[in-house]
Amino acid sequence: MIAVLALLAGVVLGLWLDPTVPAALQPYLPIAVVAALDAVFGGVRAKLDRIFDDKQFVVSFISNVLVAALIVYLGDQLGVGGQLSTGVVVVLGVRIFGNVAAIRRHLFRA
């Protein structure tokens, strides 16, 4: 419950502050969001599996975001940014799907 409130607080904060993203960081923002979502769904699933660990969650969140942004940055420098970000989104999307399926099994037993 607190987590949901924190999420809402973050959304409100983002909408209210409305920060301008530096142009250099703009291409990495969507990828970073997807990576962060992956970490969060992993965390929720771990919670339901009763193996949640704060340290693991924090580390996976930060490293996911950084690694995803780094891969896309590298791809941009090598001229394959679009393809690499597609690859990152596919891998993260598969993980999100798998974790959401596990969460669903936990919640609905189906």
Binding site: M1, I2, A3, A6, L7, L8, A9, G10, V11, V12, L13, G14, L15, D18, P19, V21, Q26, L29, P30, A32, V33, A36, L37, V40, G42, G43, R45, A46, K47, D49, R50, I51, F52, D53, D54, K55, Q56, F57, V58, V59, S60, F61, I62, V91, V94, R95, I96, F97, G98, N99, A102
Partner: protein
């Protein structure tokens, strides 16, 4: 649920990396670190946090996630509006240029009329009438007279219920217009215009994507092919192949096709043709020293 490849190793606390990354990714999308941490905790005899509470650090991260989502959303919508602005700017530019072109071609028409008037004032009667006749038959002069108007219109879209509104013959094709124009010439037309675009000997009727271009200017339906010609033209056209084909097509699909006699048609002049001049091919066998240089500065004196 599913048996892991490196289960024994993991029980001993050694993380293994399976060779098939994708299979592993699909089978177990959860970070292996959670399992490790849980095992480590179990070894140390600590129980996991009860319920749904999370540590402050995790809370901060979740706030950050919401923040990121909101910022990314804002960013995307901002980019969208920028794109829409650029698009509407381009559309406005196109409209402006089209209006400019129209105004200039109108001015050109006026000037051409002026030139014609001056010329006719200078020329003798027989020469002037010969010139007028030539201009009328080549499409360079405006003509008035009786004739027929062939009207074609796309059928109502989406009538076949398969979302294939753009396929099939319910749309007027450029070849239909070509056929109509050719058969009108064949039926004795002296001047033809499609939607006010006069056809000359060098006119083209082509398609580019979904649009039909007459002399590189797009025309849109309903298409009206106006032709000036003798009285018998209508009958002869009605018996032509394109008229019969289009009647059948109009019967089978929703396309509409009609031929009617119209008195006192006025067809505009075609734009001045860009004249192309033939040039003699330069044959490589001619030696440059023998023929001398045909430069204008050298030959002038």
């Amino acid at each position: 649920m599913s048996e892991r490849v490196g289960d024994d190793d993991e029980r001993r606390g050694v993380r293994t990396f399976t060779p098939d990354f994708l299979t592993e990714l699909f089978r177990n999308p959860l970070d292996p670190g959670y399992a490790d941490a849980a095992q480590a905790r179990a070894r140390r005899g600590r129980s996991p946090r009860p319920g749904w509470t999370v540590s402050p650090v995790s809370l901060v991260l979740i706030v950050l996630l919401g923040f990121l989502c909101a910022v990314a959303y804002r960013q995307t919508t901002a980019e969208e509006s920028g794109r829409a602005q650029a698009r509407s700017g381009l559309v406005a530019q196109i409209k402006q240029r089209q209006a400019d072109t129209d105004a200039m071609s109108e001015r050109a028409d006026q000037l051409r009329d002026e030139v014609n008037r001056q010329r006719e004032a200078q020329l003798s009667g027989s020469q002037a009438s010969r010139l007028r006749n030539l201009a009328a038959s080549t499409g360079l002069g405006r003509v008035r007279g009786d004739g027929v108007v062939v009207r074609l219109e796309d059928g109502p879209s989406g009538q076949d219920g398969l979302g294939g509104a753009n396929v099939g013959p319910s749309q007027v094709l450029y070849s239909d217009l070509q056929g109509v124009a050719n058969d009108l010439w064949g039926a004795g037309a002296e001047a033809i215009a499609i939607n006010g675009q006069r056809l000359t000997a060098t006119s083209t009727i082509r398609n580019a994507g979904q649009a039909i271009l007459v002399d590189f200017r797009p025309v849109t339906g309903p298409y009206e092919v106006s032709a000036i010609g003798p009285r018998s033209m209508r009958e002869r056209y009605e018996a032509s192949r394109s008229a019969l084909t289009m009647r059948k097509v109009a019967q089978d699909t929703g396309l509409s096709f009609g031929v009617r006699q119209v008195d006192d048609l006025t067809l505009p002049a075609a734009p001045e043709p860009r004249l192309r001049y033939a040039e003699p091919a330069v044959s490589p066998s001619v030696s440059p020293s023998g023929s001398g240089s045909p430069s204008p500065s050298g030959g002038g004196r």
